[in-house]
């Protein structure tokens, strides 16, 4: 089985979000970039398929040279090879088109992407990739088993979960649950050494128009001070929620 894990390179969850150039660009100054958390779960699940079912695992990112340390980290965690499509990630549609070409060229059976990236929160690349390649698609995937070309997956739905059966080729939008938090791999010294020798192929992009365009950014309005209510005066809290906030 050939697995492709899509890796989006995103600001660490503690990052302060600021913008530059008249609020049109994300300010990367002092920002630490990491593997998108949803992709980390997917990558660890892929390692499981590698170790238990002999799968071959490639990681891919569509982005500039600055994303290579993130791909190297994925190699150190255990992926066999990495691909960087040398293009600016303009929008979900254009990224999906680049990834579709990679999938076509590499003949992958299973593509593991994340439910959404924590930067632009588009939540669209995996579904679009499935649509473009004609593969089956399971989003919000929290469990996945593959047997030959058959797959059983569990997807989170509002208020519960749903178990489905499907077949390869398959794209999933994965998230926490694919593996447990405690099972996430962190690169060890040996992994880091080995990653240096693994291939990281840079491929040139295909022509792929974006369907949307990011115009500008805004930060939410600053918040007023909290109103404190004494613990022995909860009637006041109820009163405030009823009369002032009008939420109960």
């Amino acid at each position: 089985m050939k697995i492709l894990v899509c890796i989006s390179h995103v600001p660490d969850t503690t990052s302060k979000i600021n913008f530059t150039e008249g609020d049109t660009k994300f300010d990367t100054n002092g920002v630490q970039f990491v593997i998108n958390p949803n992709d980390e779960f997917g990558l660890t699940r892929a390692m499981w398929f590698k170790e238990k079912q002999g799968a071959n695992v490639t990681v891919v990112n569509v982005g500039g040279a600055e994303t290579e340390p993130t791909l190297r980290k994925a190699l150190a965690i255990g992926a066999d090879a990495a691909i960087r499509v040398n293009a600016i990630a303009e929008d979900g549609f254009s990224v999906a088109k680049q990834l579709a070409k990679v999938v076509e060229d590499g003949g992958y059976d299973l593509v593991i992407a994340g439910r959404e990236s924590i930067d632009y929160n588009g939540g669209m690349v995996p579904g679009m990739l499935a649509g473009l390649t004609g593969a089956n698609f399971v989003n919000n995937c929290i469990a996945l088993e593959i047997d030959g070309t058959s797959a059983t997956a569990t997807r989170e739905i509002d208020g519960g979960k749903e178990t489905v059966s499907t077949s390869l080729p398959l794209v999933i939008g994965g998230q926490k649950g694919l593996v447990e938090e405690s099972e996430l791999r962190i690169p060890n010294m040996r992994g880091i050494m080995m990653a240096r020798k693994k291939p990281l192929n840079v491929v040139e992009p295909v022509a792929a128009d974006a369907a949307t365009n990011s115009v500008s950014f805004e930060k939410p309005a600053p918040k007023g001070a909290v109103k404190l209510v004494a613990a022995d005066n909860l009637d006041e809290l109820i009163d405030l929620l009823h009369k002032e906030a009008k939420v109960i």
Partner: protein, 319 residues
């Protein structure tokens, strides 16, 4: 030309989100000088849509669509878009809508903006405001394609009443080979979900252990709220994964969010910033959550919550 809206249902009844997306679609249609057509799957009586500005309803009845299936539903919507010559498609932010929208976008060569929080500020160019960076910022996005798909963020637009005809007609659509088949659904039908809830009661590691969640559930019951938790609580297995909210969990966009024994780490706050009113109950006056909250009680949850439940019961009884 028209604006097409997908109205979601649960057990053959419209969800509240269906009326919110219809309200949003009406605002877009007014800007474009056109009408709103809704697609309703397996719903007998669609007249309620007439309260929210829907001019026409395409009723699809098909036993193969009993379970939601992203590919099947995307195919139905694509055929409706073609039949109505729709220019804009409006969906919600439910798990199902987010599942089908990217597939529909590919079918229609359409740009898709998710998590949209306001009506379009302009229709030429077509620009919408959406939340990004997990609610730490907003992004103004232009949708450049001929057909546009908008996913409206829950509770962001609200319900806007507009009485209209909602003339229903049957619409038959062909369903492709689905490829993904549902084996089983595991869902508590008597519980309010985080996605649909107007009020969310959430608790963190301050509650010490899973055995103490009884009072959280009771508080949620009194308020008709959904229950949620912080990430360590679900990592520890005290509560199901589906309840974990925050940057790496579920987003919450309720009208009221009550946080009990949650410190207010940046990753937690990112997921709940879109909630309108936040109440914090925490023993530590220095807990960062107080800076992000509207109302706060410095106190022990094991004393405050039971009292709050009693007082709310009395308040509800009076109402």
């Amino acid at each position: 030309m028209s604006v097409l809206v997908y109205t979601e249902s649960e057990q053959n009844k419209f969800k509240k989100a269906a009326f919110e997306v219809a309200s949003y679609a009406k605002a877009v249609a007014d800007k474009l000088g056109t009408t709103v057509t809704a697609v309703a799957v397996n719903i007998e009586d669609t007249s309620e849509l007439g309260n929210y500005g829907v001019d026409k309803v395409l009723k699809v009845s098909n036993t193969n669509l009993e379970h939601f299936n992203s590919k099947g539903y995307a195919a139905v919507l694509k055929q409706a878009v073609k039949a109505e010559n729709a220019q804009v498609v409006i969906l919600s932010s439910s798990a199902d809508s987010k599942y089908l929208a990217p597939l529909l976008a590919v079918e229609l060569h359409a740009g898709y903006a998710s998590n949209v929080v306001e009506a379009p500020s302009s229709t030429s160019p077509f620009t919408v405001k959406r939340s990004a960076f997990t609610n730490k910022a907003f992004e103004v996005t232009e949708i450049k394609s001929d057909i546009k798909i908008i996913g409206v963020s829950n509770n962001a637009f609200g319900l806007v009443e507009n009485s209209s005809s909602a003339a229903a007609e049957d619409f038959s659509a062909s369903i492709p080979e689905l490829g993904v088949n549902v084996n089983s659904v595991d869902k508590a039908t008597d519980k309010v979900t985080i996605a649909d809830a107007e009020i969310v009661v959430s608790a963190g590691r301050g509650l010490k252990g899973p055995e103490n969640w009884g009072m959280v559930e009771e508080l949620a019951d009194v308020l008709g709220a959904a229950t949620a938790c912080s990430k360590p609580v679900s990592d520890l297995g005290w509560r199901p994964h589906g309840e974990h909210v925050g940057q790496t969990g579920k987003p919450v966009a309720s009208n009221l969010y009550i946080a009990i024994g949650i410190s207010g780490a940046i990753q937690h706050l990112a997921g709940i910033n879109a909630s309108k009113v936040k109440v914090v109950i925490n023993t530590d006056p220095e807990a960062p959550f107080f800076k992000a909250a509207d109302y706060g009680v410095v106190g022990d949850a094991f004393e405050v919550v039971p009292q709050l439940i009693e007082k709310l019961k009395a308040f509800k009884a009076q109402q």
